[in-house]
């Protein structure tokens, strides 16, 4: 199998008439990476994938695969293979014919095709299933056949358009691991499109988070989660408590925010927002539910919020505690289940403490709508 090939999008604009689907995207994807585009429906992530695969042409910009500009080349002339959302297996061809269709196109002999089909069927752990029709396979098996069919042409880049979305939850989780495992085995670049942050976080080396037509942040999963560059990323990935306010001071990367309803709080300025935030600016501060700890001692260092419990839920691995801060602000807290009881009575007064390093501040901006 060919080893990883870099993919670069440079100043990429994609338009449908007057509608801008992708605005000035700049992405560098390392060869051999599992790279995800994460975003809500209609954000333009599938459009980017279709541009990379060659099904539509960008209005401006370059698409480089292994350093070669692909703009103007058809899907058949690019070293890419696309796995469709609905897989698009050919229903009237057997599994092995499906898998080796690219060889049939290339004019390979029946023997060559059969041999390659057997290799690939072994790889996806479906030996002896080659003579079945796709309709006789289960959802997960179809998934694997689609992967094998795409890999048969030995592409440099595999493009996946939400291929797991049709599966049930358990199978989806299983296929995540399997996809990642296949990717590491074949060592080629995977570009994965998803609206499911769990998929993006668990599988990817790097993730591009897309807001409408725009890429907000490109980073590994941990940075996306812990160090979001924009308010959109912070609110889109995972759950977050948002505090709006004005910056009163910034020193050594820690901003002091005069929040609207929760008093003065201190938090780290996000790496991506460094230099974009000044004293007096409107800011948004985000604290993850699991970043809080519940303490007895009250302090005045800008790292505590006094709140009253509204209700709590037990979720197995953790307790979700929904509280209301003294200023009327709703704050959710997640407490890890360590065996001791953490079901608080409604109305109980708590001190919610957080480490300012685990809270981030970004300039006020767009939020992800739920």
């Amino acid at each position: 199998m060919s080893s990883g090939v870099d993919v670069d999008l440079k100043n990429l604009w994609i338009k449908f008439g007057d509608f801008v689907a992708v605005r000035d995207a700049n992405v560098h994807i390392n060869g051999g990476d599992f790279f995800s585009f994460l975003g809500g429906s209609g954000c333009g992530k599938t459009t980017i994938l279709r541009a990379v695969s060659g099904f539509l042409d960008p209005a401006e910009g370059e698409i480089l695969i292994g350093g070669n500009n692909m703009v103007g080349k058809g899907p058949n002339e690019r070293p890419t293979a696309l796995i469709f959302q609905n897989l698009a297996l050919f229903p009237l061809m057997t599994v092995w014919e499906n898998i080796t269709f690219s060889l049939e196109v290339a004019g390979a002999t029946l023997g060559e095709r059969r041999k390659r089909a057997d290799e690939l069927l072994d790889m996806i752990a479906l030996p002896d299933q080659g003579n079945k029709l796709p309709s006789q396979l289960s959802g997960g098996q179809k998934q694997r056949v689609a992967i094998a069919r795409a890999l048969c042409a030995e592409p440099d880049v595999l493009l996946l358009d939400e291929p797991l979305s049709a599966l049930d939850l358990k199978l989806r989780h299983h296929m995540r691991a399997e996809l990642r495992e296949i990717q590491q085995r074949v060592g080629i670049t995977f570009i994965y499109i998803t609206h499911d942050q769990g998929e993006a976080l668990t599988m990817s080396d790097n993730i591009a988070v897309m807001r409408t037509a725009v890429i907000d942040q490109i980073a590994d999963g941990k940075s996306i989660y812990d160090d979001p560059s924009t308010s959109f990323v912070a609110s889109f990935v995972g759950t977050n408590n948002l505090f709006r306010g004005k910056v009163t001071d910034i020193s050594e990367g820690i901003a002091t925010i005069d929040t609207n309803r929760s008093g003065t709080l201190r938090a780290r300025v996000s790496t991506g927002a460094t230099g974009k935030l000044g004293v007096g600016d409107d800011a948004m501060m985000f604290i993850r539910p699991e970043a809080f700890s519940i303490v007895d001692q009250k302090t005045e260092t800008g790292t505590q919020i006094a709140a009253n419990v509204q209700r709590s839920e037990f979720e197995g691995t953790s307790y979700n505690v929904y509280t209301e801060g003294n200023g009327g602000k709703e704050i959710s807290v997640s407490v890890t289940n360590r065996g001791d009881a953490h079901m608080y009575d409604s109305g109980a007064a708590l001190n919610l403490e957080f480490d300012p390093q685990r809270a981030v501040v970004v300039p006020a901006g767009e939020l992800a709508s739920e």
Binding site: T80, A81, V105
Partner: protein, 305 residues
């Protein structure tokens, strides 16, 4: 079991009405008249009062006549009628193939294009000519293809030909007329099937480097097979059984087999003979259609799709 479910969804009253109407349609309007014709074809030609009388008997002479002609025929075979029979079936097959080649691209375009308004307009434009009755359409073709018709005038004006071509005698007008008459019956079954073909499959094939002809050969045509066979069956059967178009557009020397049947019924007044000819045509068409279906591995159930 199926019947129980059927009555549950339609209700007892409606269920019986629907069943009754279907039964009436099939038995009273199709099976019984055909059976009567079938039975009639084994009787001699008698004046009505003598039918069922002492002079009536069962015989194969009507069928023999088609094969061998009248008693004492020096040729041995009924060459004229048999030639008409073969020519009718060949021509109907030819019309079917031409219609298929003509309609497949149209059906594919209609079925796969996403532009709703324009496609609806195209379909409408295909349907509207069928509001005009068959006779008028046939005569319109006669005007187009006649000696001093539009086509000849046009070709001569641009000096493509020196003198008029006799399109009628060459049966061009007839084939064109028949082909045109059944275009919709070819397009719509194919269009219906192709419309449901997942576009991603075509894109997947393109992505894997398949040229356009291969996409059609391996993906679209296998998928559209039920529509293709249903369209071809209808066009073939109806062309072979057409009467008006051959009557009006056929050349002076070329008879259509249905015209022979018509002559036996009407001019000859020989109903048993006509029935025998019609039955032979029906059976021949059925055999051809079923063998072609077998050849291309099409199931009967697919036709109904």
């Amino acid at each position: 079991m199926i019947l129980k479910e059927y009555f549950k969804t339609n209700g007892l009253m409606m269920g019986w009405i629907l069943l009754g109407l279907t039964f009436f349609w099939i038995v009273m309007l199709i099976v019984l008249p055909q059976l009567y014709m079938f039975e009639l074809s084994f009787h001699p030609h008698l004046p009505p009062p003598e039918m069922g009388g002492p002079n009536d008997y069962l015989t194969l002479e009507n069928y023999k006549y088609l094969a061998f002609g009248a008693e004492g025929n020096p040729d041995g075979y009924n060459k004229v009628d048999l030639a008409v029979f073969i020519r009718t079936l060949t021509a109907a097959a030819f019309v079917t193939v031409v219609d298929l080649l003509l309609c497949y691209p149209i059906a594919y375009y209609l079925g796969q294009s996403t532009g709703g308004g324009f496609v609806r307009l195209l379909v409408l434009l295909l349907i509207i000519p069928y509001w005009i009755n068959e006779i008028l359409r046939a005569f319109a073709f006669k005007i187009i293809f006649g000696d001093s018709g539009v086509l000849n005038e046009f070709l001569m004006f641009f000096a493509v030909i020196d003198g008029p071509i006799d399109f009628i005698r060459a049966n061009v007008a007839l084939y064109a007329g028949l082909g045109y008459a059944y275009i919709l019956l070819m397009i719509f079954p194919m269009y219906n099937v192709i419309e449901s073909l997942d576009r991603n499959q075509i894109e997947a094939a393109r992505d894997m480097g398949a040229p356009w002809w291969m996409i059609h050969k391996r993906i679209v045509i296998p998928y559209a097979k039920p529509g293709i066979s249903s369209g071809c069956t209808m066009v073939f059967m109806l062309s072979a059984g057409a009467l008006a178009a051959p009557q009006i557009l056929g050349g002076p020397s070329s008879l259509w087999f249905t015209q022979l049947v018509y002559q036996w019924f009407n001019t000859g007044g020989n109903w048993p003979q006509a029935a025998a000819y019609a039955i032979v045509l029906l059976v021949a068409c059925l055999i051809i259609v079923l063998s072609v279906m077998k050849l291309f591995k099409v199931n009967m159930g697919d036709i109904g799709k």
